[in-house]
């Protein structure tokens, strides 16, 4: 009876000390406005993430990552990782992560805590689907949550990517790419109102259709890139609003953006093209003018918070409006 009690008190004390240290450090850090201001080479780096802050004395060497968006960003920046979740249907560029060189630490939704523990990582990254595991994982090692807030996608994305840049000493590259991205977004958003095109975003799965609007997981199209929503009052539920082909016909968008969930998860169910190939959808402006845009499922559905994902997403919408 006594032993666990002892351990509990011990852990409590350690936690309290850690919290105190964190408090002191973050107080130091908060002097500079943007968190990753300090240069990478010397001194501790403190970054803010979705569930708090984390401090690094040195650049983490062993990184376990659960969020595929974060994995994409790390890959973009050439940061090596040691552990990833079980992944399927990766695009060619990322296919190596499915291989044996990378320890498989569970699934996107459910970490294999034993495996993570065995790896003894310096840093664990969660985000989105894996964010709920934050509390449990942070008991094993320093954990950061890179969940991006859909309501303010771009600001939030910038913060998260900059945090990654700061932790791994890649601030310059990150800043350059984010600035280029911002410029591209401003350019696209600047010309859309003139085009006056009304867009509708739908996701298909198992033969069913759901629609997404501003503020949703695909809201980037409306919120940042300025595509006018073709339908009013779409909620921001994670699984969208169940709609029918009739709804698409009635909304009559100029551009129809399609996320094919079944192909995103490598399922051989009904492809989006078959679901949408009917007289009602074919009668819309979008279909008649050949503006049904099939969005790249990996970037949009699986890893929408990766740096190069967003770059390609923005480029795709830019192309669809030209």
């Amino acid at each position: 009876m006594a032993a666990p009690n002892h351990r509990a008190t011990g852990r409590g004390l350690t936690a309290a000390l850690a919290a105190l240290a964190l408090l002191v450090l973050s107080a130091c850090g908060s002097g500079s406005d943007a968190a990753p201001a300090a240069p990478a080479s010397s001194g501790p780096v403190t970054v803010t993430h979705a569930q708090g802050t984390a401090t690094f004395q040195a650049t983490p060497a062993k990184v376990v990552v659960f969020d595929i968006g974060a994995l994409v960003t790390l890959d973009d920046l050439g940061v090596p990782v040691v552990g990833v979740p079980k992944l399927e249907g990766l695009p060619e560029r990322l296919a190596k992560y499915a291989g044996e060189r990378y320890t498989k630490v569970g699934t996107l939704f459910e970490p294999d805590y034993e495996k993570v523990n065995e790896l003894a990582p310096d840093l664990i990254i969660v985000g989105g689907r894996s964010a709920p595991a934050y509390a449990e994982l942070s008991k094993i090692a320093t954990t950061i949550d890179l969940t991006v807030d859909n309501a303010k996608f771009l600001t939030s994305l910038r913060e998260r990517v900059e945090a990654v840049g700061a932790v791994f000493g890649k601030q310059d590259e990150v800043r350059r790419r984010l600035d280029a991205l911002s410029a591209r977004i401003t350019e696209i958003a600047g010309r859309t109102p003139a085009g006056g095109k009304r867009g509708l975003i739908v996701l298909t799965t198992g033969g069913k259709i759901s629609a997404y609007g501003p503020g949703s997981r695909f809201g980037l199209i409306h919120d940042a890139l300025g595509v006018q929503p073709a339908a009013e009052g779409l909620g921001t539920d994670i699984h969208g609003n169940a709609v029918s082909a009739e709804f698409i016909a009635q909304t009559n968008p100029d551009v129809l953006y399609v996320v094919d969930r079944d192909s995103a998860i490598g399922d051989n169910g009904q492809a989006a093209r078959r679901v949408l190939d009917n007289a009602l959808v074919n009668g819309t402006n979008a279909a008649r003018n050949n503006r049904v845009v099939y969005l790249e499922p990996f970037a949009w559905y699986v890893a929408p918070t990766g740096l190069s994902s967003v770059e390609s997403m923005v480029a795709a919408i830019g192309d669809s409006l030209s």
Partner: protein, 330 residues
Amino acid sequence: MSRSTGRRREVRGRHLALAVLLLVPAALASLFVGAGELSPLDLLRADSGAALLLLESRLPRLLAILLAGTAMSVAGLVMMHITRNRFVSPSTAGTTESAVLGVFVATVFLGAESVMVKMVVALLFALLGTLFFLWVLRKLTFADVVVVPLVGIMLGGVITAVTTFFAYRADLLQSLSAWTNGDFSSVLRGRYELLWLTAAVTVGCYFYANRFTVAGVGRDFAVNLGVHYDRVVNLGLLLVSATTAAVVVTVGNIPFLGLVVPNLVTLVLGDNLRRVLPVTALAGAAFVLACDVVGRVVRHPHEIPVETVAGVVGSVVFLLLVLRVRRVAG
């Protein structure tokens, strides 16, 4: 049967006429409810867009609703007789859950592109699941009227757990719910025609109705009357499984449909299957129609799946029925 069959209330023409009189206007009205704008006036003006909407979406949807509604409630009625328990229906005997497992197996392991393959596999699974339920039923020593469906519901739960486990391993949980949630929103011309099979099955049920009724009185009695009891029961199971499979494959699961509709109808009209079958069929169609229209209207222009609406309405009615039987049984 648990209720007296002595109450021989004739289903006169007027019952049927009343049902038709209620259903036909409701069905016609439902043609003008939906995400797209369509009014009778548009049709009179011979608007080509309106005609398209009607022929591509509204009419197929209405037909799918009527077919699924009639088929599942008749299947429930037949099941009631075969098992001699008024709370046994495809959704309380593991039939639906088995059909869902079949759809999953066909899609994942056979990569079933063809709906027919899915349908056949679902039928086989539905049949096996139901036979297993009947086998369990025979082993039950305490076959209380409410215990029997509870066993069926538990069996269904176990089968669902198996399906869920494999869907989880295959990372297809969300897809599974998309395949199996009862929903008419994806019904368009060319995507529901499999349901016409159920119409044939329903007609078949009508021709065998008297034999099902006799079987429903009990094995000994049926054999005394010269009825091939086992053959009749097996045929009934086959018809019920085929119906369930067709409905699950095309529109998904509509909970409580096969349970509450036959119960309500037989409460009023008695247990002679041949007599109550037409009214049950019409009432089933009306039930699904009402649920679907509610689903289309509540969040217009978005939709609430018929499964959700039917689940809410059906569970309340089911509870009332169970309480009522408990009271009658004392």
